[in-house]
Amino acid sequence: MSSSVLFDTPGPRTKARHRLYAVIGGAVLAGLVGLLVWRMWTTGQFAYELWEPFLTPAYIQVLLVDGLLKTLQMAFLSIIFAVVFGLVFGVGKLSEHSFVRWPCWLVVEFFRAVPLLLLIIFIFYAFGVGDGFGAYWSVVFGLTLYNGSVLAEVFRAGIQAVPHGQGEAAYAIGMRKTQVMTIVLLPQGVKIMLPAIISQCVVALKDTSLGYYITAPGLTFVGKQIYGEFGNQLQTVLVVASLYIASNLVLTWVATWVQHRFVGEKKPLEVSVVGAPGTGGEA
């Protein structure tokens, strides 16, 4: 903590004061945690029956196979589709023809501004119910449209982040538009985009949980069945949440590694806010 814009390097007296703050702060936090644990104790949340399903092999298998695996599958499928969708519309947004550019812009902005749950519910009731393709694919397609639109923005920004000279040089040696894009710009852009694409996988993985509302399979749905049977809501939430957190931390770790390996310490890609004509961040 020696170099911060917010304060000078502390001297001995300030250090002593900081130690005091640390003790007070630590005590307050420990008190809060203690209060919570005491609450859990008095309401009998540590009873073995409530934790039993998570120690029973059959339930662990259900949790991991029907839950985690299905969730990962949904996230994986939707990201694959979303990359294709994003590539098409991202490149479309960079087109020289306004009759290509505008529809692409409209589609991307629409799906980025509409809440994912609204989209999933609509897809489910319009195409998924009854003879349709079911809840599983409703979630996958909803995720594809949303993440695809976000990725379209990522692709656009990534391609534009390639230095101008590259494209110009490619034109100068006589390449066509398609060649410039596929041989020169995209391969260089992908390097810059990779971390952003992997972070989007985390978003997709988290958003698969929205399938809960239309009873699509996945971790959250399995969790609902377990606490429906055993009445152990808190324990189930804790277990399900830790499974999500663990998978996401692995993904985040991969993203950081890729960033270091392929991009170096350069600033991560900036993606514009919904509705902004081309500047900003994401969430």
């Binding site: 629409f110 609204l118 809501q233 949440a241």
Partner: protein, 217 residues
Amino acid sequence: MDDIANDPGLVLNAFWVTIQLAVLSGLASLVLGTLLAAMRVGPVGVLAKFGTVYVSVVRNTPLLVIFVLVFIAAPTLDLLVKTPFLVKGVVALTIYTSAFVCEAIRSGINSVSLGQAEAARAIGLTFGATMSQVVLPQAFRATVPPLASVLIALAKNTSVAAAFGLAEATARMRGITNNNADDRWLIFMTFAIGYIIIVEVMSAGAITLERRWRVSR
């Protein structure tokens, strides 16, 4: 579509709940997020650790799981039992969004380079002047775009409350869709446009602020 045509209030009331959720949890998570950011960038190790853990846990948990925690698991601890649904929704959204607010603010502070503070001290500005004249104005400006996208995401995330019995816009759309199978597209577009208006208004506001505070370099 007849339902909406006969009673436009149905849609407007639902969006009113959405807006209430968004504004209340937006304000609450700005407060909590700023507090967390202060803890994370502050000199006290324990608090900084706590902030880091909170952010990485919450950011990697789906919002829906946090809603399950607040709406379904908390009552088994005798917490939040008689609380109105709107308040519970605000609590869940605040727990989630404050982690993102914290990160937005922290990235704003990190964007000010150390040389700025050092130069300010070198020309003899006091600590207060360094903060108020040099560091915080720059940090504040850099915070606007990421904070705006966090709040826009929050406005969209209020839709998750639909799964927990809050009659906001997404829940209302589901209800109306159930009764009017023929007009699904129109109903969907009506609600989608409602959300788009909210998002566009927030986005336009953020862009205006950004332009106003931008410094020509």
